[in-house]
């Protein structure tokens, strides 16, 4: 069936470096994509979102890139900090329908001091 998946299950990054977390999606009907951060013992926390009419969106230290041609989504975190350690999930949905959000498998980001 249709699914959202991640290329890498774990990512280790030096503190201060930039992190790039990738995600592939397969549902052509999805037009809204979200990145969530999940820290240990907590629920998913919204980071940034992007609609399909855009290919880039920037937040504070985070940027999401969307490539609809190859159905690829990425999250870039600038100047990675210890507090960025978490599991990161991409998620997809159809914006207009208030439909369910489908989560990907998650990437664990660990920060080396």
């Amino acid at each position: 069936g249709e699914s959202v998946g991640l290329h890498l299950p774990t990512l280790s990054v030096q503190e201060g470096d930039n992190s790039i977390i990738n995600c592939a999606y397969s549902n052509s009907a999805s037009d809204y994509f979200i990145w969530y951060k999940q820290e240990s013992g907590k629920g998913p926390q919204f980071i940034i979102d992007i609609r399909s009419n855009m290919d880039k969106r920037q937040g504070q230290r985070v940027t999401v890139l969307l490539n609809k041609t190859v159905k690829h989504l990425s999250l870039q975190i600038a100047a990675t900090q210890p507090g960025d350690s978490a599991v990161y999930f991409c998620a997809e949905t159809a914006y207009s329908s208030a439909s369910k959000i489908i989560f990907g498998s998650g990437t664990r980001l660990s920060i080396r001091p």
Partner: protein, 112 residues
């Protein structure tokens, strides 16, 4: 900042027993959701609720599951007869419109 709150944080129950997981969504939100996460796996959609009725549900949400909004503030998930495989983190979420969803910190359900 308003939060989605869930109680209890951890629920232990015996197989075959009924459990009710409770959630207080953010007060001005209109859309409510339950998700679950089996340990080490991804977050899975269970059910969405809008205008006092279920708007969508997954295959996981079978006849053993039900949701209710008994008053203006609570949103509950009931599992009628728990199975071992129901052990998971259950997350409640709400949103004011379509997205994004705001999640609570979950209830860990352990079925023994």
């Amino acid at each position: 900042e308003p939060e989605v709150t869930q109680t209890p944080s951890h629920q232990v129950t015996q197989m075959g027993q009924e459990v009710i997981l409770r959630c207080v969504p953010i007060s001005n939100h209109l859309y409510f959701y339950w998700y679950r996460q089996i340990l080490g796996q991804k977050v899975e959609f269970l059910v969405s609720f809008y205008n006092n009725e279920i708007s969508e549900k997954s295959e996981i949400f079978d006849d053993q599951f039900s949701v209710e909004r008994p008053d203006g503030s609570n949103f509950t998930l009931k599992i009628r007869s728990t199975k071992l495989e129901d052990s998971a983190m259950y997350f409640c979420a709400s949103s004011p419109n379509n997205s994004p969803l705001h999640f609570g910190n979950g209830t860990r359900l352990t079925v023994t």
